[in-house]
Subunit: 410 residues, 2 copies
Amino acid sequence: MKSDLDQLLRDDHADALWATGPAQHNPAVVYLTGGGHMTAADVFKKVGEEPVLCHAPMERDEAARTGLKTLNFSKFPLKERLAFAEGDHLVASALLNKYILEEIGLTSGKVLVYGRTQVGKFYSILKKLEEMLPGLSFEGDINDAVLLQAMATKDVDEIERIRAMGKVVTTVVSRVAAFLTGHAVEDEILMKPDGTPLLIGDVKGKINLWLAESGAENPEDTIFAIGRDAGVPHSSGTPTDALRLGQTIVFDIFPCEKGGGYFYDFTRTWCLGYAPDEAIQLYESVKGVYHQVVSELEAGKNAAHFQNRTCELFEDLGHQTPRKNPGTEEGYVHSLGHGLGLNVHEKPWFSRADDPTNSLVPGSVFTIEPGLYYPDKGMGVRLEDTYYVTHDGKFGKFVDYPMNLVLPMK
Amino acid sequence: MKSDLDQLLRDDHADALWATGPAQHNPAVVYLTGGGHMTAADVFKKVGEEPVLCHAPMERDEAARTGLKTLNFSKFPLKERLAFAEGDHLVASALLNKYILEEIGLTSGKVLVYGRTQVGKFYSILKKLEEMLPGLSFEGDINDAVLLQAMATKDVDEIERIRAMGKVVTTVVSRVAAFLTGHAVEDEILMKPDGTPLLIGDVKGKINLWLAESGAENPEDTIFAIGRDAGVPHSSGTPTDALRLGQTIVFDIFPCEKGGGYFYDFTRTWCLGYAPDEAIQLYESVKGVYHQVVSELEAGKNAAHFQNRTCELFEDLGHQTPRKNPGTEEGYVHSLGHGLGLNVHEKPWFSRADDPTNSLVPGSVFTIEPGLYYPDKGMGVRLEDTYYVTHDGKFGKFVDYPMNLVLPMK
């Protein structure tokens, strides 16, 4: 939680953190500011002190709304910095940050740097800044030991925001199911009222629309993949593909609150009308593993334990897994899940058996999403829900939704 | 244009460029790949050679769709890199890039780095990589001399995609106008059918919905600001503010193609029902300056020339400007415009009089958006359209839309 930040900084022997970039679609800055329409924001937090938000002059109202202590870039005008830097824009940019760091009294020690913005320019600026303030060193938090660690345990408000997004998701998913099954069928292909086939692109248009109606957005494309595409986990689907009966459709939807807030992540696999035997078999295997793993969830255990267990279960059923065959593109080919919050993927990581900070603890929010993929057979199955750990170590699913494979046509 | 990249790299004495990050909402990678559902992509382009796209194993289909030469990260498995790095995740991450650079034969020279991703981690990785491959040096393109310079001149296809987004925008704007003026009014406040006031938040919900319906998205919040908020250029508006007659509303809408494609940028200022004399006066001043500056546009001239000219015109009318009073928060407080493409703000910059690469030339796409702001009087006016320069040096506006200040209530 945010209140852990000081201790986590101390444990990491860091003196401060710096989160940079826009205040939307940028989890580090959103977490520290609450978001807002700021195209450029820099948040500095020294150990034991409140954060300071530096902002552009035109964005002073948005900055003030965050309730943080603020510092207006206009205090250090570009024109004068450029004159001092003899026209060198790199030096002028570094000077802005130098003046800010001096203003807030952060001129020595280790500073952890966060935020999503232009990596190349920032690389040059940080190097220049290290020359200007040789007592300072900047580092990326490669092991996610501080900010992502704080973000990994959610408070009650965050849990409820994620649940609200879960309700948006299941509402949209049920609208999609009703939309699909309401179509006429000709030669196993779903037909629109205008007599042309219903395409993946049409379905995605509806998904985007219904998400927007609910105040959500999907910054990354929704996965709605049929047939062979369903057999490739991150194929988002081919917009010109027609919807056909009897083919596996992997529908993986992971929107967030408008402006880049909390995410939800959810997957169902459907066959329209009927399912071939082979698809039913895959589906039953995935569903069995899903329920087995969920029944074994236990607070305090490392997330990687459950990935390992999932591999074991799939191997027993005769499938390839990344444990037995790293890099396999058939069978079970990914992780059991991932943490989720302001990032669609965050701690706990299910891949780091060596790292005790990836345990499932009160406040953890994570997905459970076993899957089986056979692209050459033209099919794939994935089932996913998002879970959390309560303050007393129990596991809760945010929202319920049926898992049926077959959606009968109306 | 993309075909200029080799010459621009040579002119900058660079040996290659590297664009990193996801393939959506990341202009550098979108420009080089065409976009797609790739959560991690690295594009390397050596001078005189075709780009190579490195991708995650699960995203191989999306990578293949780009038509670029591809390289699968699975060729360099994490497990083996981690073992070699003795569990050090920083070294393991740097090693992936080292192996890729060796594979594509890029182990010495100057590499320009682009893309939006996690700046802190990338800083540490690039520093480690420079240690591992001492012949290589990484730099940010601080002056936007290469990739942004190529992107600054659009080809015919890009111009038409921007125009299509302009049509989406004006369609949505006219729907918003019809929606607003269709409301009942009580005591100067617009009322919903349920008897409660119509709020800014309600209007924004409709905007998001209608954008989604058109296949567009607004990654940053639309500005729909009334009264004092309209007097602060980047205030996006207060969701709980009611819509009132006779107050200036600044409506600045800048969506892009779904997934982070080409943008359009457009602003109108409205008063519902009637406009106070002071607002009319501001509006007439802004409109006059807009038309004067547009009539003076001339290919080959530096964009900053027109910012300077705009300051002159506003000063003649008795307003503060950033030229006379840098940092002013009243009067004309920003730039006349900015280039636009896969970034909502890009070259040509209107602020760099010293830099001849910011001239208006065939293929330039840019906004013209003079404004006047008086937050203490509770009002602001901005008028904005997006323009382009044709191959024979003429200026075109992408789409037309009326500029009226007053929207009469129906």
